[in-house]
């Protein structure tokens, strides 16, 4: 009996020690959730200075509107309203029943993309290799449509596509269409850049938040692509097509394209999304995503609000009515 009591005492001591040392979860009430949300953004968001946002003023505006008698929906709406001040598609409040999302970066601009026209009049007879839809257009020009950087393609798949185009006699070049590509994994961009690069190439520079102050950033880190040496290469001309729905990883891809002299960017400015998304959980179980870095081109241009095309072209309504993609047609004249 003594032994059992001894063991139970030891177990009880360890459990009570742990209870005393380890913090409990923060309160899940509306006020604490709001406070944590505001503070998380205050300490982590990277673009306050670039966007000239007074985050303390947002606290003064919204804090009085928050109380513990609010419903979850009311709290969500108020918090989302505050977050939309950041005008950043990488800022999302995720509550389970809904996710806030800022999308004015493309809603306030022409679509410059009509998938029906591409399917019917340009991609007819296409081949599909992984997520890459490709064909040879009239005029002996290769065309690839890539709809999401969240859909990975393998090196072998890229080999297959490039082998196809490299074997077309007299191919003038390739159009790489990333319009309406909302982003995903930048590694899918690097895979292509490795095939284009002939030497180590600086794509862009990034500084990361490394402390709670609005200007606490790491040193700028260079993103350099090294050429592939044992894979199929493509050294011809490329025209990349863009619009405002080209966001996040797609925006980084287009920013990287600026580093290559054989690539021209045609279409509309990209939608932006130049900070690396970062997440944190709130005490009530919601989470918030926000930008935690700043990326700029080698010339210092910050890509948060998008990358400018080399040749700005819009889809003309008359062309669209006639089943013509003005942007593709313009790209074809550049080879």
């Amino acid at each position: 009996m003594k032994k059992i009591l001894f063991l139970l005492t030891i177990a009880a001591v360890t459990l009570s020690c742990e209870k005393a040392i380890m913090p409990n979860s923060e309160s899940a009430d509306a006020e604490k959730t709001f406070e944590t949300l505001w503070q998380t953004i205050d300490r982590g968001y990277s673009f306050f200075e670039y966007k000239n946002i007074d985050w303390n003023a947002m606290y003064q505006t919204y804090r009085p509107q928050i109380n513990n008698n609010m419903t979850d929906r009311e709290l969500f709406n108020k918090c989302s309203e505050m977050l939309n001040v950041l005008k950043d598609g990488h800022v999302n409040l995720r509550a389970g029943f809904s996710t806030s999302y800022y999308n004015d970066f493309y809603l306030n601009f022409p679509a410059n993309f009509n998938k029906e026209i591409i399917d019917r009049n340009y991609l007819r007879g296409f081949e599909v290799t992984g997520p890459l839809y490709h064909t040879v257009l009239s005029g002996n020009i290769g065309y690839i449509y890539y709809g999401s950087f969240a859909s990975p393609y393998t090196d072998d798949q890229l080999d297959a596509v490039l082998t196809r185009f490299n074997s077309v006699a007299g191919l003038k070049g390739i159009i790489f269409d990333v319009r309406n590509n909302p982003g995903g994994n930048p590694a899918n961009a690097y895979r292509l850049f490795e095939r284009i690069a002939t030497q180590n190439t600086l794509l862009y520079k990034t500084k990361y938040k490394n402390g709670p102050g609005h200007n606490d950033f790491s040193e700028e880190q260079e993103s350099i692509i090294e050429p592939a040496t044992d894979r199929i290469k493509y050294t011809g001309k490329i025209v990349v097509l863009t619009n405002r729905k080209c966001y996040s990883a797609c925006n980084f891809f287009v920013a990287g394209c600026k580093a290559f002299s054989q690539i021209k960017i045609v279409g509309d400015q990209t939608g932006g999304g130049g900070g690396q998304p970062t997440g944190f959980e709130l005490p009530n179980g919601w989470s918030v995503n926000f930008s935690g870095s700043i990326t700029s081109l080698p010339n210092g241009f910050i890509i948060e609000h998008g990358v400018l095309p080399d040749i700005a072209v819009s889809l003309s309504p008359a062309d669209e009515a006639a089943g013509i993609d003005t942007i593709i047609e313009t790209a074809k004249t550049l080879f």
Binding site: K3, E18, M22, P23, S25, G44, Y208, L282, G285
Partner: protein, 271 residues
């Protein structure tokens, strides 16, 4: 920092090898030597400010392997203890599941000598413990911030109190142990748990070690305590029932509190 890591690692494994050479001389077999093979139930609690201000808890499995040398005056144990847990919280719901999967590896080397004995039935051992802890946590709901890790290579004092007890007409050993790492080489993720996805040369392991530092108990407080009962079987083999409480608080740019309660059963094969 890479150099410090390298030095720590070399010292750690050199000490293991040299101690084993001293303790397991092939030509002069003394005392008892065992292979340990075990399985356990791991119950973990975690509060990681790199993820949230919410406490997580959950259970998982914990296999273990090890080597034990037990002699009249010395005790030496080398063990590898991986645990795989799924932690959740009462804030989680079906609309928005919150879960953290932990994969935790603990590599321990303990070397103790007898310092006191009472009536041949109660023995106090004291010595040192070297421990390598790596706890990789994945919170998928946090996208790019989902990977959080705690790494610590620590050294510190350890002690064990053995009591011989009769149970079922056999001589069993009940033991209580304690280990307190004093000096540690630790690493936690960068601010905001960043992993540099937008860098083509993103090097997760390199970043881990470039973000490391040597600290004392103020930045890495860890306590490992345990109870065990060793029951003799046939041919000098033994069965060991154990309970271990392993708690640490590691602080870098933020703090993590993690506790593990491990209930285990191990087979000690004499060789």
């Amino acid at each position: 920092m890479k150099t410090i890591t390298f030095i720590f690692t070399v010292i750690f494994f050199t000490s293991v090898v040299s101690a084993q050479e001293q303790e397991f001389p092939r030509s002069k077999k003394t005392g008892n030597r065992y292979w340990l093979l075990g399985v356990g139930l791991s119950i973990q609690n975690m509060y990681d400010e790199g993820i949230s201000y919410v406490r997580y808890k959950g259970t998982g499995i914990a296999p273990s392997i090890g080597l034990i040398k037990s002699a009249e005056k010395k005790y030496c144990q080398f063990s590898l203890q991986p645990t795989f847990n799924k932690l959740t919280t009462d804030r989680s719901n079906e609309l928005r599941p919150m879960a953290v999967r932990t994969t935790r590896f603990v590599l321990d080397y303990q070397y103790l000598v007898k310092v006191k004995e009472w009536d041949e039935k109660l023995k106090l051992f004291a010595g040192g413990n070297a421990s390598l802890l790596f706890n990789l946590k994945t919170a998928e709901q946090l996208d790019n911030s989902q990977l959080v890790y705690d790494y610590a290579l620590s050294i510190g004092p350890a002690a064990k109190l053995d009591k011989t007890v009769k149970w079922n007409k056999r001589e069993c050993v009940a033991a209580i142990g304690l280990s307190l790492p004093l000096i540690s080489h630790i690493a936690r993720p960068y601010y905001l748990n960043r992993i540099e996805f937008i860098d083509p040369k993103n090097d997760f392991i390199g970043d881990l070690f470039s973000n490391s530092r040597v600290v004392s108990v103020n930045k890495n407080f860890r306590i490992i305590s345990g109870l065990s009962l060793t029951y003799p079987l046939f041919n000098k083999n033994e069965l060991k029932l154990g309970y271990t409480w392993d708690f640490y608080k590691m602080t870098t740019i933020n703090s993590v509190y993690a506790a593990e309660h491990l209930i285990s059963i191990s087979f000690l094969s004499s060789y």
